[in-house]
Symmetry: C2
Subunit: 320 residues, 2 copies
């Protein structure tokens, strides 16, 4: 149960027990070459190797399995064009309940196919936030399905935090943990876990300069929505919620931003050195290191690699 | 010590102890999507995540560390344009001895840069097998360096076999193990380990139809060198040696071949489903499954993903 307005370590530990067996314990990888370049010890938590190719499987699975049997029986719903849609569809299939997924017309064919393959019932809508929300609201009203927001949901935040529990077990004595910020669900869970178990470690969120709502909100002390997100990191275009901002204010030490060229360069460096397919959003924290936005020299740094869903026909270094 | 003409399990176990701490225990990854497509349980041993991005680190490290101090002090030498060169350079640096690496003029700049970064002393030569061997022989004569052949060397074969020990520990009760065949060093070590520890499991080697010396030799019962290897799988263009062929005859149940389009398709499928960067050679065993060359339905199959060193500017599905 999540009773406090802010999640705590107990919520994340409960999430871990709830999703065990349904999500992978992903490996933590290192690279002599990247360590040498950074002058630091970097520990990459490979959530690109998670089911559905993203950490989103953790939060969605926790939220779906936290429902009562009566709630779950009516199904679950969400609107998303990205990894959360697949994660909710997969979690619902595991629980044996229907998943109603609202996706915008024009979504990439592989994303639609993945949700279908996972058994999600897709409703297409116009590609606007208002149309998405209206379509999801209609489905919820008609079916009684539980709406699973991609980040403004304490069970989702707690689920995402389980990645940090595993990271800290596999990489001891971290000085610093980096995660990207989109809507803020991941950093909310991660910062909660890190500050509870290793208060000496700093937590820094990183976002694209073209979608810097968290950085500006953090500086201002209140949520400033992103106006026109403009970044290749499509997983990080969302605006933080009041709930995730409260967690950021509590547990995040700083928010850094990185340029688009730095994101593309970092993505390529990670592919070359780690031999991992990571999506642009996942490269954002390492971009801050590679571009010198964060001084990590001599530190032990944990980095969440958030996902690996990319269009292999349109790689940024071959199309730009 | 390797005293028999053929290596045995004891040689591989000795190799494992010798290289512990110098090479990674790589993860074994699975994919619900690939399992569904194959109707089987596939266990991928991720040697693309090994140091220098390939299983070659195992054999080279074992060979370099098996030298006496007096032998090692004179350095080590090899000729290679590929992963073995980097593996020897790295192993020599770990042992603190010089590595003399003969590489053909026209080698890709990243490969030269990697060997240099690892401290290898590069000698360029004309891009012919004769020129390579002559240049290496001159260096060995002048320095007394120990020549480390990429596969016709029992310590190299034993080192490569350690990948199979780990695979069998992480994926129990395998029915079948697949590995690509180039010069045959990997399959020699792998088949030795598998047949010793799990005799009920079959071992199938897979190679490109355009470099099918092992398949033709296996059918004929004697080594038939590859004439003009023509395949994108640049790690598999070498001809098997008498020594590796003897191991293939002893421990390999069948040799399958795959087409070039099947290799490219398999490489892409692995990138998409596993989120791993694998090189064309590494995709060859899975290509045999995806193309239906091997019937794996209902089986538990271990697959060695051999390496991840690719030119990200020239991916086969964007350049073909």
């Amino acid at each position: 149960m999540v009773s406090s307005p802010l999640i705590g370590l107990a919520d994340i530990e409960a999430a871990r027990a709830r999703i065990a067996g349904h999500v992978r314990r992903t490996p933590v990888l290192t690279s002599e070459r990247l360590d040498e370049a950074a002058g630091a010890s970097l520990f990459f938590k490979c959530e690109n190797l998670q089911h559905v190719g993203a950490f989103k499987a953790r939060g969605a699975t926790n939220a779906v399995f936290a429902l009562s049997d009566a709630e779950a029986a009516r199904g679950v719903a969400t609107h998303s064009s990205g990894n959360h849609a697949a994660a909710v569809a997969r979690a619902a299939a595991l629980r044996g309940v229907p998943a109603y997924i609202v996706m915008p017309e024009g979504s990439a064919a592989p994303k639609l196919a993945q949700v279908e393959r996972l058994g999600g019932r897709i409703t297409l809508c116009a590609p606007t936030q208002a149309a998405r929300e209206a379509a999801a609201a209609r489905i919820v009203a008609a079916t009684g399905a539980a709406f699973i927001h991609p980040y403004d949901n304490p069970q989702v935040m707690a689920g995402q935090g389980t990645a940090a529990l595993e990271l800290m077990e596999d990489a001891a004595d971290l000085d610093l943990v980096l995660a990207p910020i989109g809507g803020g669900g991941l950093i909310s869970g991660v910062s909660t876990a890190v500050k509870a178990l290793r208060p000496a470690a700093r937590v820094i969120g990183v976002e694209p300069a073209g979608a810097d709502d968290a950085a500006r909100s953090f500086a201002a002390g209140h949520v400033i929505p992103v106006e026109r997100p403009d970044t290749i990191a499509d997983g990080l275009r969302a605006t933080i919620a009041a709930s995730t901002f409260a967690h950021i204010q509590r547990g995040v030490d700083a928010v850094a931003t990185v340029s688009e060229p730095a994101i593309v360069q970092a993505m390529r460096s990670l592919w070359e050195a780690l031999k991992l397919v990571v999506e642009p959003s996942a490269a954002v924290p390492y971009a801050a290191i590679e571009a010198g936005e964060i001084d990590v020299r001599g530190l032990r740094v944990g980095i969440i690699l958030t996902g690996g869903n990319v269009d292999l026909d349109r790689l940024p270094w071959t199309t730009q």
